[in-house]
């Protein structure tokens, strides 16, 4: 029975955190805070479980499922069942993550009544308004509490832990794998830092959408690493190393960039993990790119202050981000295939699939 390794501990800890955070403040209103638990009970009392209100209970339930699956996976002896259970646990964590994000989104989009809404906002069945509707009608302010963010963090950790707990078994990392990712990281670092610099005015004109487009270059590095090496952790390491390369070469990036890199890579790794690191067609790469773009959203939420923006612009940003992600996936595959065609990658997984005896 595999012992409780660090990644497994992180996975379990994350799920536990999600449950705990359910009882922490989720919504602030008029100097009072409401926990997720109290909102859930209020909703049930108010009108029974229906529609989106069920999401409030979904969070602790999903977290519980994730914990159980993770524990079962730790106890499984056969590698296939261990992997399957772990992937299910990861899937549960992602589902929980999605629900939490939806809650966040709905709270933001539907929230504070003392702010003029831009036209075209999306109306959803808002869990939060059911609970504090009365207060809202008085025109008071509602903020999202740190509990929600902790839930998000918890599920992310659960997903990360599950992923990293992956096959230490199969692929052995060789020096050439590390050096390959490091050199790709340096080249991307140079590309981003030295060549895109002249185009920085794009970000000056349209900061957030511009930043989104630049992200496409970012994501490409991690996706390329994963595409070439085709093993767990490759995309993650590639992206992290690219961020590290930026810091090392003295770009004004900040080690905080490492966190951004890791988040993005996580999304890609999730997609690759779901395909068992076996399918590398256009579909996988594009979806991985989009996943990388989306998973990074919560972190960028803070880092770039998206939370202040007008909902329409936010939607537009998200759209640009998804497109950037898809573009990154496409670029990574194009580039990877082109490099492999030159025969330079014969020592790596991508090159090996096309090695024909010459």
């Amino acid at each position: 029975m595999p012992r409780l390794t660090m990644p497994r501990a992180v996975a379990l800890g994350g799920a536990v955190l999600a449950i705990v955070a359910f009882f922490l403040p989720w919504v602030q209103y008029a100097n009072a805070t409401y926990s997720g638990a109290s909102l859930a009970t209020a909703v049930t009392k108010a009108g029974g479980l229906r529609g989106f209100d069920t999401s409030l209970y979904a969070i602790p339930v999903i977290a519980l499922i994730s914990i159980v699956l993770a524990l079962l996976s730790a106890r499984a002896t056969a590698p296939e069942s261990e992997a399957r259970l772990r992937i299910l646990a990861i899937a549960a964590s992602i589902a929980g993550l999605a629900v939490a994000l939806l809650f966040l989104g709905s709270a933001v989009l539907g929230g504070a009544p003392d702010i003029v809404f831009a036209p075209g906002r999306i109306t959803t069945d808002l869990a939060v308004t059911t609970a504090v509707a009365k207060a809202l009608s008085a025109g008071a302010y509602v903020g999202v509490g740190f509990g929600v963010y902790l839930v998000i963090l918890g599920f992310l950790a659960a997903a990360i832990g599950g992923l990293l707990g992956a096959a230490k078994t199969t692929a052995v990392w060789r020096t050439q794998d590390f050096v390959l990712l490091a050199i790709i990281a340096i080249v991307f670092g140079a590309i981003y830092w030295a060549w895109l610099a002249p185009y920085i005015w794009v970000e000056g004109v349209a900061a957030q959408p511009g930043a989104e487009l630049f992200f496409a270059v970012w994501f490409t590095s991690g996706l390329l690493g994963g595409y070439i090496l085709r093993r767990p952790g490759a995309a993650f390491l590639a992206e992290t190393l690219t961020a590290a390369a930026e810091v090392l070469i003295g770009a004004p990036a900040g080690p905080v960039l490492l966190i951004t890199g890791m988040m993005e890579a996580l999304g890609a790794e999730l997609v690759f993990a779901v395909t068992g690191y076996k399918r590398w067609g256009w579909g996988t790469m594009i979806i991985a790119g989009i996943a990388a773009a989306i998973v990074a959203i919560p972190w960028n939420w803070f880092r770039l202050g998206y939370f202040a923006l007008d909902p329409t612009l936010l939607i537009a940003l998200l759209g640009v981000r998804v497109i950037a992600g898809a573009a990154a996936g496409t670029a990574a595959k194009l580039l990877g295939d082109a490099i492999a065609a030159t025969g330079s990658l014969n020592a790596y997984a991508l090159g090996r699939e096309r090695v024909r005896e010459v």
Partner: protein
């Protein structure tokens, strides 16, 4: 204890992705304390052998080990660990850029020591010793600021610090300019005195290393052992056979052969004695320095400064190249040779002065990969042919013709990057010719080539020259200059130090020093011979000798 330091027995090895084995049924003994020279044409498996001896194959690089064994210092390399093998045999490769991994010299030398868990207290002494052995004491620059020759010495020091009992040098001077080559060969000469260490040398600049070689082994193009024996047996008794293999022969030995002698001259002085003895009276070769007078490219006081550079790369360069000339541009790395070539071809706009071209001038880069723009070999040719405005039929015919002449017909659909070095070079020359140029500028055309391929390329250039085109080669290969150039231009820090016939340059010690060059072996031999016997002409290369003796 028997004499073998390493023994290869019946080895057949195939690389991943190749159908043909790199080495076939190879059996070779490398004796303890011996200095063994390994020769062979390109692709014969010499570097593969080097990687086998230090255990990189099979431990770090995969290969299909089809049969045979490799035993180093009594241990089978497949059974031993890479750690112990790497401290028993050290290999220095040809490209300093892909061997050095750290930013500072001491860190680089210490890297191997760190990997072998040498206690820190012992490191300082070993680093200092390694520096002393390679003449690096006192050099305190970061690695990025070192010259190619110094970088190679650092790589050598890093290997020596591990105290290997066997040292393999795989073409250590191939990527270096003449000054760098001298630096490294001097360092090697210092090492050969130590008979505790066995030395395996893969080199093609044979005249410089012959004095310290005990035995010679040669591989053929299929990776079989074609010859093993003393230098005398190799270059005198079996010279014709080795030549047929495509292997480099020492220039001075060829000279002796032309003089009908069985001698194997050790150095220029030896050869000079031979020449003084045997040179037939009255035999001489006149050098034809007449040009057709029709200029293809002219430079007038051309200057060029790279953006952000401290000093100008070119300063007041004036020259002209006429049809029917083969001009060589020589000088140390950084003297501005490539910049001049690019300016003459019109790839770079001169910052000052002007360049005038009467006709098309094509440029062939030193690294062919940089110029590949298509996914197939034929596609490369089509790109240039299309730019000439030919119609589709003419394009196909011309492409096929060029492929045939370059010997690349079978590889028409291959990706250019997957070609061997020699093939890539032939392709890049073919694409330049596809433009039907009046002038052709080549940057280091014989770089990385074995004797046969270099010979073929030079013959092609000769044909083009005789055809009335102007050829300019930027080169470090002084034998090429001596035998083929009608004129040589020596650059020194962006200015023209010399512009005239090669014989004049090679006769002038001061100019040679200014351009960081050394007189090639044949020229030196004749100079010394002329001093002994004044009727011996001051010839500079084998081509002249052949003409004179006819």
């Amino acid at each position: 204890m028997t004499g073998a330091f390493a023994e290869i027995a019946g080895l057949t090895l195939r690389h991943v992705g190749r159908r043909a084995p790199a080495l076939r049924d190879l059996s070779l003994r490398w004796e303890r304390g011996e200095r063994l020279l390994l020769l062979g044409p390109s692709g014969s498996g010499k570097s593969t052998l080097a990687l086998l001896l230090d255990g990189v194959i099979p431990h770090a690089v995969e290969a299909h080990w089809e049969s045979g064994t490799v035993t180093v210092d009594g241990t089978d390399t497949r059974a031993a660990g890479l750690a112990s093998l790497s401290s028993t045999v050290g290999v220095v490769f040809q490209d300093p850029e892909t061997q050095l991994v750290m930013l500072e010299i001491d860190d680089e030398i210490a890297f191997g020591l760190e990997n072998h868990a040498v206690p820190r207290a012992a490191m300082a002494g070993r680093i200092a010793a390694a520096r002393a052995e390679t003449g690096l004491d006192g050099i305190d620059l970061p690695i990025a600021r070192l010259s190619g020759g110094t970088k190679q010495r650092v790589a050598l020091a890093a290997i020596l610090a591990l105290g290997p009992r066997g040292l393999v040098l795989d073409e250590p001077t191939a990527n270096l300019d003449p000054a760098g080559t001298r630096e490294v060969l001097a360092a090697v000469a210092r090492l050969v005195g130590d008979r505790e260490r066995s030395l395996l040398l893969i080199e093609h600049r044979l005249d410089d290393v012959l004095p310290f070689i005990d035995r010679v082994a040669a591989l053929d193009a299929e990776g079989r052992l074609a010859f093993v024996g003393t230098p005398r047996e190799a270059f005198v008794d079996e010279m014709a056979r080795l030549e047929a293999l495509g292997v480099w022969i020492p220039q001075l030995r060829r000279l002796a052969a032309l003089l009908g002698s069985d001698a194997l001259p050790r150095d220029a002085a030896d050869a000079a004695e031979l020449i003084a003895e045997r040179w037939p009276a009255g035999a001489t070769a006149t050098v034809n320095t007449r040009t057709s007078g029709a200029s293809v490219v002219r430079a007038d006081a051309v200057g060029y400064r790279y953006p952000g550079a401290a000093r100008a790369a070119l300063d007041g360069v004036s020259l002209r190249v006429d049809r029917g000339e083969l001009v060589a541009i020589v000088g140390a790395n950084g003297a501005g040779k490539s910049t001049l070539g690019l300016a003459l071809a019109g790839a770079l706009e001169a910052s000052s002065g002007s360049v005038r071209r009467d006709g098309r001038v094509a440029y062939v880069f030193q690294y062919p990969e940089h110029q590949f723009v298509s996914r197939t070999v034929t596609g490369e040719l089509r790109v240039t042919l299309r730019a000439r405005g030919l119609d589709a039929d003419a394009i196909e015919r011309a492409a096929t013709d060029l492929l045939d002449r370059a010997g690349l017909r079978a590889l028409g659909e291959a990706n250019p990057f997957t070609l061997s070095h020699g093939q890539k070079r032939r392709l890049s020359v073919a694409t330049a010719l596809a433009a039907d140029p009046d002038g052709l500028i080549l940057d280091e055309p014989t770089f990385g080539q074995d004797e046969r391929n270099a010979g073929v390329l030079l013959a092609t250039l000769e044909d083009l020259r005789a055809d009335g085109r102007a050829i300019v080669t930027i080169t470090h290969d002084l034998a090429l200059v001596a035998d083929h150039a009608t004129r040589v231009i020596g650059l020194d820090a962006g200015t023209v130090a010399f512009d005239g016939p090669p014989a004049e340059l090679f006769a002038n010690d001061e100019l040679l020093a200014r351009c960081s060059l050394r007189r090639p072996a044949i020229a030196e031999a004749f100079r010394l011979a002329h001093a002994r016997r004044s009727e011996v002409p001051s010839l500079i290369g084998l081509a002249a000798v052949r003409t004179a003796l006819r």
